[in-house]
């Protein structure tokens, strides 16, 4: 067998699997979105129906807030862990990165243990502080799964920064705040943009956490789920999925333009 034929044969299983279970199903999804009563006008319908626009805006705002918070927390912790060596550092690092592959449902349950009706905060305050099923609970759950992802990106980028630049800035009399603002953050900027885009995309599409916590909150994945299962509005569920998928895909392509890798897993 010629070598080039063998190489092509190696790609064959992938090609067959991907055609059957990715390309064709996605094509079908796009066709079904236009097969409802409204036809292709369904995309216009989404933009003019308050229920869908509210969900879209709400999901985007929540994801933006999560991205900002996760960036702030993970950059602070990541810089600290990358620049300091102390006992217990390894333990802290594993605590901060282990949730990387926890399923969203488990994270939802952990938030319930913190802020549910029988959660830690409820116990400490005689049942006054309950936040698990509110926007705050969802926000905390999304932060929970975003922190490890952003942290790993920030730490990898910090290790590539040149410590001599900081030394130079300090010896020229720059304060810590100035060093962070003028030397460290600009150096980290491309990675921060990439990590932010990944965090945002993951938050937009998170289903597991929303499924456990957001029984009363209209975030996009929950709206898609209800349209499909309860309302049996297949066309609308498909159209919303396509919008969601397109936005998250675009963001990750954008993120990859800034840094080499993208590690997104479902929340």
């Amino acid at each position: 067998m010629r070598s080039s034929t063998f190489v092509r044969l190696c790609l064959l299983p992938l090609f067959v699997f991907t055609s059957a279970f990715l390309a064709l199903p996605l094509a079908r999804l796009i066709l079904s979105s236009g097969s409802g009563e409204a036809g292709w006008g369904i995309y216009q319908q989404i933009l003019t129906t308050p229920r869908y626009t509210t969900a879209l805006v709400q999901t985007v705002l929540l994801s933006l807030a999560v991205t900002a918070a996760a960036l702030a927390i993970s950059t602070t912790a990541g810089l600290f862990l990358a620049r300091n060596r102390f006992r217990g550092r390894g333990f802290i690092l594993s605590v901060l990165t282990l949730p990387l592959a926890f399923p969203g449902v488990v994270i939802g349950f952990l938030i319930i243990l913190l802020g549910g009706r029988q959660g830690l905060f409820a116990q400490l305050t005689d049942g006054k502080v309950v936040f698990a099923y509110s926007m705050l609970g969802l926000f905390l759950g999304y932060i929970y799964f975003s922190i490890p992802r952003v942290l790993l990106t920030v730490m990898a980028a910090t290790e590539k920064l040149d410590p001599n630049l900081e030394e130079a800035a300090r010896s020229l009399g720059a304060s810590s705040a100035q060093v962070v603002r003028d030397v460290i953050l600009p150096g980290l900027a491309p990675s921060l943009v990439a990590a932010g885009a990944i965090a945002f995309a993951t938050a937009m599409g998170a289903f597991g956490t929303a499924f456990t916590l957001a029984t009363n909150i209209d975030v996009l994945p929950m709206v898609i789920y209800t349209e499909f299962t309860l309302s049996a509005n297949i066309a609308m569920a498909s159209a919303l999925s396509i919008i969601l998928g397109f936005v998250t895909w675009l963001l990750l392509v954008f993120a990859r333009g800034f840094s080499g890798s993208s590690a997104a897993a479902g929340g």
Binding site: A77, L98, V105, Q118
Partner: protein, 263 residues
């Protein structure tokens, strides 16, 4: 002075974040072995909840392990040769193909599941079989395997190695088995651990694709969170942690090792 205050602030944020991630996980571990969570630890410890979880959900746990294993075999059979094919054939076609198979990393599982359901939902024998869930898992984990192996292969001088072997009379198949696979091993190992870890924890696709007779571990978890007492839900989560945490640590170790080779 100012320098150390900034440091203290950083340490504070780091520790607070640690507590936020760790405390609820510890709570769930404790609740899973506490006789009565609402009374507290003073009610004593018990393994009763663990035993009850095993009785209720053993088949879910076994199903998940079985699917993870089948998923591993499928991603190895499809992914390793594909990574080799992509490495040997760098061009626009390979780039487009790699980009396309990576879509499940970006497109939420819910959307992929809706797509699969609409195309294959009416194929009776397939829709109700465990292979339908398997397809979802392979779809989601395959890009991790392909990229992990490809990263290691693309820093090797495959062409020279293979030409050397070919001049000694090795066939394409022998070269793949004797040169490519052993050299790609760190990438294969990292990919394999990632595939198993992700498959065991996969919920978003599985929730849509499963049938009442095919509840995987995470689907069972969602079920227990909704309908069981807190101690049972916690004990089940504890069992999940015991399975997933060693896998995650092994996965991180293997990925770092593979990255060092690929860098």
């Amino acid at each position: 002075m100012e320098y150390s205050r900034a440091k203290a602030l950083q340490l504070g944020v780091t520790l607070l974040t640690c507590a936020f991630l760790l405390v609820p996980a510890l709570q769930s571990v404790l609740a899973g072995v506490t006789r009565n969570y609402f009374i507290g630890i003073s009610s004593g410890f018990t393994l009763r909840w663990i035993a009850e979880v095993w009785e209720l959900y053993a088949h879910s746990i076994m199903l998940s392990i079985g699917i993870a294993f089948a998923c591993l075999v499928s991603t190895l059979v499809i992914g390793v040769p594909a990574a080799y094919g992509l490495a040997r054939n760098p061009g626009w076609f390979s780039r487009v193909l790699e980009e396309f198979i990576s879509l499940p990393l970006a497109v939420p599982g819910l959307a992929l599941a809706l797509a699969l359901l609409q195309l294959y939902g009416s194929v009776k024998g397939f829709r109700t079989s465990w292979t339908f869930v398997l397809v979802g898992h392979v779809l989601y984990t395959l890009p991790f395997m392909v990229r992990s192996v490809l990263a290691v292969l693309s820093v090797m001088d495959l062409k020279t190695l293979e030409e050397g072997a070919a001049s000694l009379g090795a066939t394409s198949w022998r070269r793949f088995w004797d040169i490519v696979v052993p050299n790609a091993m760190p990438g294969i190992l990292a990919g394999a651990l990632t595939v198993v870890t992700l498959s065991i924890g996969e919920f978003n696709l599985t929730w849509m694709l499963h049938t009442p007779y095919l509840k995987t571990l995470p689907v069972g978890l969602a079920d227990s969170y909704a309908s069981m007492r807190l101690e049972i839900a916690s004990a089940y989560t504890l069992i999940f942690f015991i399975i997933i945490v060693p896998l995650l640590m092994a996965m991180q170790w293997a990925s770092q090792r593979a990255q060092r080779i690929a860098a």
